[in-house]
């Protein structure tokens, strides 16, 4: 018996995308395999590492723990959507660059999406709050010091950019 397939329509980074997928297609695999958006990385595939974090209607979620069919009709932002409209680095990306917040880069997409959403909620975090905000994301290059610095720098950059449109 062939697997039942479902038509799924999702607005990804502002663009309406459509694909026909089996029910068991994870959102992460939908993004990577069906839409060829490979910026979203899959590490543990059981919700522990945070690499696959995307924004669902603006809210960070694990894309390895959600079925694509469940988010039919919703909006998703991936790391590809965390840049400026003209394609320059977004404030969080720029801060990671400046603070050396990545080494191998595997975990980075999950950090970028998580921090992008967090700064909307808390535009001026303390160092302790920054550390708490990234508590659900693992980096095995042991880059947490620089990632915490990048959160604080990203907050600065975001404020500067918003002040000078």
């Amino acid at each position: 018996m062939s697997e039942q397939r479902h038509q799924v329509t999702v607005t990804v980074n502002g663009v309406t995308r459509r694909a026909e997928v089996p029910a068991r297609r994870l959102l992460a695999d939908f993004l990577r395999m069906d839409l060829r958006l490979t910026g979203t990385h899959l590490g543990c595939e059981h919700g522990v590492c945070g690499a696959c974090t995307v924004l669902l209607d603006g809210v960070p979620v694990r894309s390895c723990l959600i079925f694509a069919v469940s988010v039919d009709g919703h909006a998703v932002t991936t790391v590809e959507g965390c840049c400026e409209p003209a394609g320059e680095l977004g404030p969080v990306q720029q801060a990671f660059h400046e603070c050396h917040g990545l080494q191998c880069g595997f975990c980075t997409p999950g950090f970028i999406t998580t921090i992008t959403a967090y700064l909307e909620e808390n535009p001026k975090p303390t160092e302790e709050e920054a550390r708490e905000a990234i508590g659900g994301n693992l980096c095995r290059c042991t880059g947490y010091q620089n990632i915490v610095a990048a959160v604080l720098r990203a907050a600065e950059l975001k404020r500067e950019r918003e002040a000078t449109p």
């Binding site: 068991r24 059981h46 960070p60 979620v61 469940s70």
Partner: protein, 290 residues
């Protein structure tokens, strides 16, 4: 590490969900937040033939507070419970505990009612429901609605009283009586991990601030949430010295029967329960002390 093939149902109403479960319950699993179910599917620890996805049941996406307590619908995410100021003001324990459920990203998707049905012995929200003497409303085509008290709801590890043809539509957390302070704390190896031992406490005081009742609940210390009444150690006792809190901790440690596992030995867990109980009771008391 990919889920097995499954037939998917995405009902738009509770009535439709209940009808699907009446027809397919034996081979179906309800999918709400999926933050426990999907890992189990990905790891192929479970393989239901069908999923009934309740994420479109917007009618169940609520956190409501009235004079008696807080009602949480099946589609309210942990983050909704955490953010609801009215719920926090009525029952501070809800926010105190839900903040220790995994990480913020998991709480954005995971549902409180789903965690009750999942009945993980390490789950915080089952313990909160047990400590507050709350209840869960279940709905099925066969029986309509039935309400199950927390003490009957948690049957065993990962086992609740929710039948396969039922959907848990609401949890009710009653507001503690009188002047009652609360606290939640736990020890885990890493931020956001399962607790090695977690404790929630309620301390009730009278008009002049004397302690008249104290209860504690434990996670990761037995197959289901363990509620221990420690009133005998603290009621009318000399609170200032701290001796009464320590005595309460000892009562709890003597009463609990934790097990060894890869993360911690039973003796260490009992030690944690003793120490955390004393600290937690003191904090709960100080929240309402004159």
């Amino acid at each position: 590490m990919k889920p097995p093939p499954v037939v998917y149902h995405g009902p738009d109403t509770v009535a439709e969900a209940v009808r699907l479960l009446a027809e397919h319950g034996a081979e179906a699993k309800v999918l709400a937040g999926g933050q426990s179910l999907v890992p189990m599917l990905n790891m192929r620890l479970t393989a239901p033939a069908r999923l009934v996805d309740v994420n479109r049941l917007d009618e169940l996406a609520y956190v409501r507070t009235d004079l008696h307590g807080v009602r949480v619908g099946a589609l309210a995410r942990h983050a909704d419970v955490e953010r609801a100021t009215h719920a926090f003001e009525a029952i501070p324990l809800l926010r105190q505990a839900v903040r220790t459920v995994a990480h913020p990203t998991i709480r954005n998707r995971g549902t409180t009612v789903g965690s009750l049905v999942h009945a993980d012995p390490c789950g915080e929200m089952p313990a909160v429901l047990a400590l507050l003497d709350g209840e869960v409303t279940l709905r099925s085509e066969r029986d309509g609605e039935r309400i199950v008290a927390a003490r009957d709801f948690f049957v065993g590890p990962m086992e609740s009283a929710c039948r396969e043809d039922e959907i848990a539509v609401e949890a009710y957390f009653p507001r503690p009586r009188g002047r009652t302070g609360s606290d939640w704390r736990e020890v885990s190896r890493r931020n956001g991990d399962y607790a090695l031992c977690g404790v929630g406490t309620l301390v009730r005081v009278d008009e002049v601030g004397a302690v008249v009742g104290a209860t504690a609940v434990y996670i990761a210390m037995g197959p289901v949430p363990q509620v221990v009444d420690v009133t005998e150690a603290v009621a009318g006792a000399d609170i200032a010295s701290g001796v009464a809190w320590a005595a309460a901790g000892q009562i709890a440690a003597d009463r609990l029967e934790p097990e060894d596992d890869i993360h911690a030995g039973a003796d260490y867990r009992r030690h944690l329960a003793r120490v955390l109980t004393a600290r937690s009771l003191q904090a709960a008391y100080e929240a309402v002390a004159p």
